[in-house]
Homo-oligomer: 235 residues x 2
């Protein structure tokens, strides 16, 4: 490697967090006592399915930038009728929407980040907003040097501006940064800017066997977990 | 207090960091071996004296926003001739400019923040840039939930936008946030927006007896140190 990597940027939903099980669990905990019986994984999948289309409105310039909490809320209200849910009191809606702040990390994440921070600056570079990242870090005992990503760029990945804002925030060049993600599209976008890449296999992200077990693009590292990445990076 | 405070925002230069001793020490360590003999505290004071005027150009809209590292560099080059310094090699200039990344915290700071984080979200809300805040945190073993302040707002305190961007990043209202600073002007600006305030006495910030031993504006708390503030906030 020509330049030593100094900073690692992390995708969060899917790469660090098991959003599917967490959203299913949180939705059930809130809605089942209200009498709703549904396929909670299908509900989580439907909510997540609105994610990319809602960001695409912003990326394409058809809507102003909004923090992800706002998009999650709009997406929630869009899918509720499809599941026969609602109307719900505002406080319930708000609590349900903040289910995204109560995700659990994959088991390897806290220990993996603890190892990696000994050698690298660490920051999430996620489309999630700052408050959401902060709550996930507190809940899962994660430790970041800074919260980078969509909010400081005013746009969403995979727009180049988001990766470049992260690089610039740390006073680095793209070649001294590495994007860590479970999604090849994220890594391809980072790589096109000269950012190094590491793929984490999350083969069950969207349910058993429905995730990227391996990258579909060239990467600098392909790892099975953050602990495996730490070992590959010599930490 | 009507609403419980959930987040503390910290001024950094002077409030958490003894910039004067640190800049004097770092400047001496770099320049004395090159044959320069000068009053290192006077040099630190002169560099710092350019700080507010350089930000005022941005606040007044006469210059575009630049991260503080860039302003520090311009200010350094402005004062060097007054002290008979230079020309210096680019690498030396760069290392000298990054002296601001190598400041030491006042002795009460690391332990005080460790106590405060048990009850509050913590973030710097400084005019320093993200990379600078990150380096100070690593050097002094500080721990932040996020790095807020000038870089995420694209302007400098005491412009309202900087405080409000910090409030918004945490999904809070001004009344649930508290600005912690050793400078009454900073606290007055935050208070005008509904942000709660805590003053930390740094009576020697600009040299013995040259600092704010007490606030000159009404504040919610006046403390002698972060440990004292923690005690006053019941942590």
């Amino acid at each position: 490697m020509a330049e030593a990597v100094k900073a690692l940027f992390f995708d969060v939903f899917g790469t660090l967090m098991d959003w599917r099980s967490s959203i299913a669990r949180e939705s059930q905990a809130i809605l089942e006592p209200l009498g709703y019986k549904l396929d909670w994984f299908a509900f989580a999948d439907a909510w997540r399915a609105e994610y990319q289309p809602s960001m695409e409105e912003v990326r394409a310039g058809r809507a102003p930038f909004s923090k992800l909490d706002v998009l999650h809320r709009r997406n929630l209200e869009r899918i509720m009728p499809k599941f026969g849910i609602g109307p719900l009191p505002e406080a319930t809606l708000e609590h349900l929407n903040l289910a995204w702040h109560r995700l659990d990390a994959w088991p390897d994440v806290p220990a993996g980040l603890r190892r990696l921070r000994e050698k690298f600056l660490l920051a999430p570079c996620s489309n999630g907003n700052i408050a959401l990242m902060v709550d996930l870090a507190r809940r899962n005992d994660l430790w970041w040097d800074a919260i980078l990503g969509a909010d400081i760029a005013g746009d969403f990945k995979p727009k180049p501006r988001v990766y470049l804002a992260a690089v610039e925030a740390f006073n680095l060049t793209p070649g001294r940064c590495m994007m860590v993600a479970a999604h090849s599209s994220d890594l391809a976008a980072a790589s096109a800017l000269g950012v190094r890449t590491a793929h984490i296999a999350r083969a069950d992200e969207y349910g058993p066997g429905r995730g990227e077990a391996a990258p579909t693009v060239p990467v600098d590292y392909a790892a099975s977990s953050l602990e495996d990445l730490a070992a590959k990076l010599g930490v």
